[in-house]
Amino acid sequence: MTQPSIHDTSIIIVGAGFGGLGMAMRLKETGFDDFVMLERADDVGGAWRDNTYPGVACDVPSHLYSFSYMPKPDWSRVYSPGGEIWDYLRDCARKTGLVPHIHFNAGLQKAEWDADTRRWLVDTPQGKWRAQYLITATGVLADPSLPDIPGVQGFTGQTFHSSQWDHSVDLAGKRVGIVGSGASAIQIVPELAKTAGELVVFQRSAPYIVSRPDRAYTQAEKRSFARLPDTMAQLREDIFCFGEYMFAQRRNVPTFIAEAKKMALDHLADQVPDPELRAALTPDYAIGCKRVLIANTYYPAFNQDNVTLETSALASVEATPEAEAAYLAGIEARAIGTVWMEGGCKFWYRDPNSDRLTVLWPDLAYAFRDENGTFHPEGYVGTAAE
């Protein structure tokens, strides 16, 4: 093995998920070839490679959740399953000739800006790269964040995070605890509810959920899209514009907030007849404070005898040591396989005592915080172009 050399290139793209592939495809399209992609895993696809849990799918219709210049006429559903999205991304990389540009198992360890040479220096397990431009396409929710529950290390059952699903574990007939009730949980719960012996969902705060206008595309529709590609573009535009309509909610316009809340609560009332269960699934905060989810099968899962919603236990973990102990005793008593999930991400850091931008990969960090717990948004990677 010779001394590792530094590879020079013009552009380094970090990550081969949707963002990185999109960036690279556009570069290729202009005829630009002097770039590399650094991917920490052994395949492209980012979140759609990593998240293989039962029921994984996207909350954005497929004809919009895809590259406008790489339309796919044969999406199977309005909201296609995650595996199909992953296949799509692999196809995109292959068809546009990106694969030779990608260095796999080359997770970014450090990136430093050298002000003298005006170049980025990047370290990976596969070697060092140097470039004028560093484009990060690392995603913000790509990494698991495990809740810090005292005593969980002592849990003797199997435990894994939803983004690192252990498919070797057969959950059929088992007692399974799911911690969390967010975007992943609402997809997993209905799937596990089909076969689990007992499923307990630990809910800290209930999400607002609206109906999911999902359906399979017919063969005729898919062929029509293939024969008339403009109709795909038209559909994409319609989906996009409907999303834009939702902006009035984001701007907190009272009527649109009321409209959204009514849609969500009507959906809950339609799907959960039991008033006590419905109350437990009713959010106690204004709509929009957390991501509004879309699902048709999550609420009905709780109508099944083998599915239990646990709202008090997890809430009291944070309240008293006694309650924590009771909670942990409860989860240990109940669960054989346990799935952890919670939003998580990695951030960049600008050292205030240096003129360098440094990449940090803190474990389990939701955001970059100082020792006082204060979030420093100025450390965000938006400054990396400097």
Partner: protein
């Protein structure tokens, strides 16, 4: 689905509602948004059977994010049976402009019949209109519009509820209706009253062919590709007649303010902030998400 009932109280936080007398009749208008020295306030003029809440439930609060916005609810200015004329509606718009923005020219936006009123004002009172937006407007009622209008009155005079179906059929674009159910679309009925009748009667005999070429204000013309009430050739006619005009087509039916209100808002927001972003004669490219 997005009928005037559910859309109704879409008022921005901090909205102020006032009333003024115009020729002895009370006219309501609403104001929202911070006054902005960089660009003039936007005045919204609704179309037939509309109101601020009915037609601008989305535009009014969203435009108010970056502009001062004034919007009126027009009042029946004539007695039942008397002929409504553009000058009657013009008087109410001018009175509101004078009350809410005295001495300061405005960006005037009209939708449908409101666009005809706005064009009428811009041609006759150029000093008051700094910029003009004509959304689904027209110059002269033609044969297709006449057939719609005659059938509408036949249903109206027969007193049948299907007038609502017929209006929905004509007002919304085919792509928008394609994935909606009849139940969704008929959740609320279009308002019907003497004023709506008077406006529909006026719609049948619009002809501002002589006035439109006199418009000098920078103008944004928005036509709706799938509009069956005011098909795109009317917007293209306006584009040909107004010197300082730029043109854009959006993928909606006539009911653009319901189908794609965010796209309309984006176009108006940008034009009001920088009317010359696109030069006279330019066609603004369609979005390509």
């Amino acid at each position: 689905m997005k009928d005037s009932d559910t859309m109704a109280p879409a008022m921005a936080a901090g909205v102020v509602t006032r009333q003024i007398k115009v020729n002895g009749l009370s006219v309501t208008y609403h104001e929202a948004g911070q006054a902005n020295t960089a660009h003039p306030p936007i005045v919204l003029v609704h179309g037939s059977s509309g109101s601020t809440m009915g037609h601008f439930g989305f535009l009014f609060p969203l435009l108010a994010v970056r502009h001062r916005v004034i919007s009126l609810d027009m009042t029946m200015p004539v007695k039942k049976g008397e002929k409504l004329e553009l000058k009657h509606l013009e008087a109410q718009v001018l009175a509101v402009m004078n009350a809410a923005s005295p001495g300061q020219p405005v960006t005037l936006l009209g939708f449908s019949l409101g666009a005809v009123v706005a064009a009428h004002i811009a041609a006759r009172q150029p000093a008051l209109i700094q910029n003009l937006v004509l959304l689904a407007g027209w110059v002269k009622t033609d044969t297709m519009m006449t057939f719609f209008n005659r059938t509408w009155f036949a249903l109206r005079n027969a007193g049948v509820p299907e007038i609502n179906d017929y209006t929905i059929y004509a007002a919304f674009g085919a792509p928008f209706l394609a994935d909606k159910t009849v139940q969704m679309m008929t959740a609320g009925a279009m308002p019907l009253d003497d004023f709506v009748d008077a406006q529909m009667e006026l719609n049948a005999r619009i002809d501002i062919t002589d006035l439109v070429p006199q418009i000098t204000a920078p103008t944004l013309i928005i036509s709706c590709t799938h509009d069956q009430m005011v098909p795109v050739h009317h917007g293209r006619a306006l584009f040909g007649m107004i010197d300082d005009a730029r043109y854009v087509e959006i993928g909606t039916g006539h009911a653009s303010v319901f189908e794609r209100p965010a796209e309309v808002t984006r176009l108006v927001d940008r034009f009001a902030a920088d009317p010359q972003e696109y030069p006279a004669g330019a066609t603004i490219p369609a979005i390509k998400p």
